[in-house]
């Protein structure tokens, strides 16, 4: 009997080790451990043993059963992992097939550029204002020290709605300076982006409607050095830390001293190239210290308060930012253009 058990054990273990499918494994299990299995058959002979032999033989039989059960389990695991491996192999994908991207929309490149600018100023404590485009000439011109007779007031330059040239399409975002002075408590730090209108025919660099961002600071002891420092910081945020700027004298009726700010040409690094028309610099914005007349007209004492303001064209900034060569693309709204940004 002992020999029988040993034979079953060795045969069974060999068979389990070589089994190839779960069905075959089950067959083997029945063959050895089933009710009519070989091991059961052997155990049935236990009755024939002497009581002295029984415990030892019983223990041996249990050992064999345990060994067989363990071997079945192991073989089962082996089969399972082989099956899984085969399945995974069959499920392999061509990962170079394009993904299924959900279609999302795109922000207009001009507003991409504008949002960058807004974020920089908001971070510096500026509030973003919005105002009317159909504007009073009084705010667009008179209150900004552009007196009767200023050439920009001509009907050849500005769009008007009445014969008395009283109501117009704002030609600049600067009336927002006046609106801010009239409505906000001092000190003031605002930017005001928006649409402006001038009587320019459409071409690669002109449009009768375009966008500006106005900015203004009024506080005690504000200097032109502050203007330079703040605008330099903005330029560094927009164009990177190495961006070089320069300030040139200019003229605006509502600032004195006035300046224009250039940024060094990104393309040639200042050596002069077609992008910067050989100058090495690209005009970025106009600025200056708020003209004392403008402060006085708003009831602000220029002896006590001072301020600076700037205005920048947004289209040109966006065009430079994205290397767009023709302004007409901005307003054409071809999706093949829009979806590049």
């Amino acid at each position: 009997m002992k020999e029988q058990l040993a034979k079953i054990k060795s045969e069974a273990l060999a068979a389990f080790g070589a089994v190839a499918s779960p069905a075959a494994l089950d067959e083997l299990r029945v063959k050895y451990l089933g009710k009519k299995g070989e091991l059961t058959a052997v155990l049935k002979q236990m009755g024939r043993l002497t009581p002295e032999e029984r415990p030892a033989m019983g223990a041996l039989a249990n050992d064999v059963r345990a060994a067989l059960e363990k071997a079945i389990e192991t073989a089962g695991h082996k089969l399972e992992s082989a099956a899984l491996e085969a399945r995974l192999k069959a499920e392999a994908l061509d990962v170079t097939v394009p993904g299924k991207t959900p279609k999302t929309g795109h922000k207009h490149p001009m507003y991409v550029a504008l949002d960058e600018i807004k974020d920089v100023f908001v971070g510096m404590g500026f509030t973003v204002l919005d105002g009317p485009e159909v504007e009073k000439a009084e705010l667009n011109f008179d209150r900004l020290n552009a007196e009767e007779g200023h050439p920009s007031r001509d009907w050849s330059d500005t769009f008007y709605f009445d014969e008395d040239s009283r109501v117009m399409l704002r030609s600049q975002t600067s009336p927002m300076q006046v609106r801010a002075m009239d409505s906000m408590p001092l000190p003031i730090r605002i930017i005001a982006p928006g649409r402006v209108y001038r009587k320019d025919e459409v071409d690669a660099t002109h449009s009768p409607m375009f966008h500006q961002v106005e900015g203004m600071v009024i506080d005690k002891g504000v200097t032109m050095a502050d203007l330079k420092g703040t605008l330099n910081t903005v330029v560094e945020q927009l164009y990177g830390a190495g961006a070089k700027t320069r300030f040139r004298p200019h003229h605006f009726p509502f600032t004195e001293p006035s300046c224009e700010m250039d940024v060094q040409c990104h393309k040639c690094g200042g050596a002069g190239c077609p992008t910067c028309k050989g100058e090495g610099w690209i005009e970025l914005l106009g600025a200056g210290m708020i003209h004392p007349n403008v402060l006085r007209m708003a009831g602000i004492d220029p002896e006590e308060w001072s301020g600076w303001a700037f205005g920048m064209g947004l289209e040109r900034t966006a065009m430079r930012r994205f290397k767009i060569a023709d302004l007409r693309l901005i307003f054409e709204n071809d999706v093949r253009f829009l979806e590049q940004f």
Binding site: D130, P187, D219, A225, P257
Partner: protein, 905 residues
């Protein structure tokens, strides 16, 4: 403003290169746009003298010339031009030379004969007859160049010979000899045969294309050689007798001289952008002052000296009245007699040309020269047309007419200022002279006017008449009233220098108001406080002094120069200091003072939110013009009486297409959809957050409301895709009680949409907007034959519809029961109505209703449909039993049947 560097150097020696000059001037406030080297494109072109000319052996129209070009050996050049003669000085483009337009000249063979370059015309040098009036070419009709239009019927026989009659008094004559007669004219001896034998005539002619052996048409009656015009001939009949040819120089030059120097093309011209506050810089002297201050160089200005002594007494000859003194603060005039009109000398013409002014004649050129040099517009009248010897500067009479120098008749109003004589206007003050007193060839006595007019009047007049001139552009900015006298004296000095006439002694000078020089206090502390600098007081004074500010006895005060009307207070002085201290030397500091809290107002935050949700739905952002064409209202099918047509109308639009402020953003969206459709872009989805401009705002302004407009088209895109996007928007802003109403609902009919595929969008009792398919006719109006979908949502209403911020609702603790039901109902019953009935019938356990199928066809009667919903039922405090759920569903089905006639399928 253009500036000749040669002219500039007369007043201040600047040896900086063009780029250095441009940079330095730009940084001190006179922005240089560009610098132009006038002779940049010309190289290796010299003066040549024609030594000999021979007819080309293989050509009927070319000449082989030998030229002295200042080298040891003569140079041979072949030319097709007929206007040259032996002894002429001509521009020669030598082998390996360049000409304007990138033209390169090399030696080569012309019909077998070597040509070592090219003789140049004015045009080939980049010049024209205005630069060199004597360069005009008059061509005789040479009978030996006659090519009949119809070879069978020639007007002139091929074998015509001297003495043969051409027509009337015109006979054929042979050229026996041609020699220069000075002034670009030629003395020509003609031979013809009369009855009694050969007969020679000598005459002087303008025609330059005559050479020995040529046959000409000679008019015996007028004793002239006929041109093409005289023969009423066409150019093609005389192909080589053209009014074009080589530029024959009448300059003081010799063979070998560089043509650039001879023609004044050796100058460099700097183009400045002068800001309107600095009219003083619209002059050579003004810019010389700025350049001198910029480069720290002395200026050499000179006081005009007039010898005078002309015959007559000025006050007896001329009387000036200024009845409107406020419009004419100053009027200065001088008179010149025995004027000899002719071209001005080359140096003057060159300077005018460099500054972009066309030379005309010596007197007119002098007025232009002085205007450029002093910045003071001048005018010259022919004295004989100043009737009564009287000049009256007065307002025009309403309806009065004047023909200006440009030949146009101008109708005037009493707001305009004229220069008149006793009887009529002879000039439009400060804008343009009158044709009736123009300087002409036989002008003898001239009046020079140098006046100061009211800028606003000049500007308005120029604008009203649409004639902005160099002079008016200057006057309208306000000129230095003290400049009129030196300018008129300078003009007279130039008359004497040019020998153009005799200047009378004395000046008529009417000064209607005496300008008080501006005196300003220099406050170094305040200037430094404004600039954020630490500029020393003496540095400030040095800067101001070199700009012409005079220090006065009173300490701390300066006198502003008369030409600096723009300097009025401390801030202006600060700018002068800053300009020459250097803007780039001002330190950079960060903002000080009270910190402010930056941020976006709520409207802008909603704008950002709306943009983000639109983009997440796949919509691209667009920007369209605020002004549209009124015809767009027709295109979207608005009735003529539609209230939305009431728009802000631009009185001076660029064109009809951009003439009114839109009251709807829909046509702008349709325009862009159509454009993309035409570009064959597939699956387009767009949004715009833009304004509309409605009448009725405060102070006559507009009510500028924003609209969120969506637009889309594409394969498979339908009403429900668009509705889904609108629902996403409403959900994103957490709007409550959002519902949609079909065309039968309470909704303003909108002709732009498909009548059966349009809905209004509601948040509670507020209509937020409309969405739907665009009416096929409207789409067609925009050139689209497919389906377009649009939604228009009011930003203001979206602002109101915004729901409260999110608040956590506990997650369900008990399982829910789901039930699917399908009911059959009439086609006319809407899903909305069914849903309403379901919610009504539910007994408090229903949590969600979701449509999952609509079926029509087999098994369902005609005119009916089967609608299937998925219901989710749940109690918050217990697990539902199946029975409880069934009871609710039963109640729901009852409601469906009762309210909608819908039966369980």
């Amino acid at each position: 403003m253009n500036l000749s560097r040669k002219w500039l150097n007369e007043f201040v020696e600047i040896d900086a290169g063009d780029r250095e000059l441009a940079e330095a001037m730009t940084l001190s406030g006179s922005k240089v746009e560009l610098t132009h080297d006038m002779g940049e494109e010309i190289s290796n072109v010299v003066v040549g003298r024609i030594l000999s000319m021979e007819r080309h052996e293989n050509s009927d129209h070319m000449w082989v010339c030998q030229l002295d070009v200042g080298q040891e050996e003569p140079v041979q050049i072949v030319t097709g031009a007929w206007n040259i003669h032996e002894g002429d000085l001509v521009p020669v483009a030598l082998h390996k030379s360049t000409l304007p337009g990138g033209k390169k000249i090399e030696k080569g063979k012309l019909r077998g004969v070597l040509s070592n370059g090219m003789l140049c015309s004015l045009k080939e040098l980049g010049l024209d007859e205005r630069d060199f009036p004597y360069g005009v070419i008059t061509a005789a009709a040479l009978l030996n160049d006659y090519h009949p239009i119809n070879p069978d019927k020639p007007s002139i026989p091929a074998d015509i010979k001297p003495g043969d009659k051409v027509f009337g008094p015109v006979v054929c004559a042979g050229v026996a000899n041609v020699s220069p007669a000075g002034d670009g004219k030629w003395e020509c001896t003609l031979i013809r045969t009369e009855d009694d034998g050969p007969c020679a005539t000598t005459l002087v002619t303008d025609c330059q294309n005559l050479h020995k052996w040529d046959l000409v048409a000679y008019n015996e009656k007028t004793n002239t050689i006929c041109t093409l015009a005289d023969l009423h001939a066409e150019q093609k009949e005389f192909p080589h007798c053209i009014p074009d040819g080589i530029f024959v120089l009448q300059e003081d030059c010799k063979p070998g001289d560089d043509i650039r120097a001879v023609t004044g093309l050796d100058d460099h011209v700097v183009e400045f952008e002068i800001t309107p506050n600095r009219p003083d810089c619209l002059s050579v002297i003004g810019l010389a002052r700025e350049a001198a201050a910029t480069f720290n160089k002395p200026c050499r200005f000179h006081e005009p000296e007039v010898k005078g002594g002309g015959e007559g007494v000025l006050p007896e000859l001329l009387d000036v009245e200024t009845p409107d003194p406020e419009l004419c603060p100053r009027y200065t005039a001088r008179m010149v007699r025995n004027v000899k009109i002719g071209p001005s000398p080359k140096w003057m013409r060159e300077r005018l040309r460099a500054m972009g002014v066309r030379p005309i004649n010596n007197i007119v050129d002098i007025t232009n020269y002085v205007m450029l040099e002093y910045g003071q517009p001048m005018h010259a009248f022919d004295y004989r047309y100043v009737k009564g010897g009287k000049i009256v500067v007065r307002r025009a009479r309403d309806g009065e007419e004047i023909t200006t120098l440009d030949g146009n008749v101008r109708k005037l109003t009493s707001n305009m200022l004229v220069i008149a004589d006793d009887t009529r206007a002879v000039g439009l003050a400060g804008i343009m002279g009158g044709l009736n007193s123009e300087i002409v060839e036989d002008t003898v006595d001239v009046v020079f006017e140098s006046a100061n007019f009211d800028g606003t009047t000049i500007r308005k007049t120029a604008l009203a008449l649409g004639m902005r001139t160099e002079a008016s552009a200057k006057f309208e900015k306000g000129l230095d009233i003290l400049n009129t006298l030196p300018a008129v004296n300078r003009a007279c000095e130039l008359v004497e220098l040019l020998g153009a006439g005799q200047v009378l002694d004395g000046v008529i000078d009417i000064l209607n108001y005496v300008p008080q020089p501006t005196r300003l206090k220099v406050e170094p502390d305040k200037i430094n406080a404004l600039l954020g600098t630490d500029v020393a007081e003496n540095v400030m004074y040095t800067i101001l002094q070199k700009l012409g500010f005079e220090t006065t006895k009173e300490r701390g005060m300066v006198k502003v120069p008369s030409w600096r009307g723009d300097v009025k207070e401390m801030a202006d002085l600060a700018e002068e200091v800053a300009r020459f201290y250097g803007y780039n030397n001002i330190p950079t500091t960060l903002m000080r003072g009270q910190t402010t809290l930056g941020g976006y107002p709520e409207e802008q935050r909603l704008e950002q939110k709306l943009g983000a949700v639109c983009r997440s739905c796949g919509y691209d952002e667009i920007i369209t013009y605020s002004f549209i064409s009124p015809t767009w209202y027709d295109k979207i099918g608005w009735e003529p009486s539609h209230p939305g047509r009431k728009s802000f109308k631009i009185l001076n639009p660029l064109g009809e297409d951009t003439s009114i402020m839109r009251t709807t953003a829909l046509p702008s969206m349709l325009d862009i959809l159509a454009r993309n459709y035409n570009y064959r872009n597939k699956d387009v989805r767009l949004y715009e957050l833009g304004r509309v401009y409605l009448p009725g705002g405060e102070d006559g302004l507009a009510v500028e409301s924003k609209m969120l407009t969506l637009g889309a088209y594409g394969e498979g895109f339908d009403f429900y895709n668009l509705k889904g996007a609108v629902e996403a928007v409403m959900r994103d802003i957490r709007a409550e009680d959002v519902h949609f109403e079909g065309p039968d609902g309470e909704y303003l009919p909108c002709s732009a949409y498909h009548p059966g595929r349009v809905a209004s969008v509601w948040a509670g009792s507020d209509c937020v907007g409309v969405l739907g398919q665009i009416h096929p006719n409207v789409a067609k109006n925009f050139g689209v034959d497919g389906e377009l979908y649009c939604a228009e949502l009011s930003f203001d209403k979206l602002m109101i519809a915004r729901g409260a911020g999110a608040e956590y609702v506990p997650l369900p603790r008990f399982p829910s029961v789901t039930r699917d039901i399908a009911v059959v109902c009439d086609e006319a019953v809407t899903v909305g109505a069914l849903e309403k009935a379901i919610r009504k019938g539910a007994r408090g356990l229903l949590k969600e209703v979701a449509l999952f199928d609509i079926y029509r066809g087999k098994g369902i009667d005609e005119g009916k449909k089967s609608v299937a919903f998925n219901l989710v039922l749940r109690a918050d405090d217990r697990s539902l039993t199946s029975e409880e759920a069934d009871e609710d569903v039963k109640s729901i089905l009852e409601a469906l049947e009762k309210d909608c006639g819908a039966k369980l399928r």
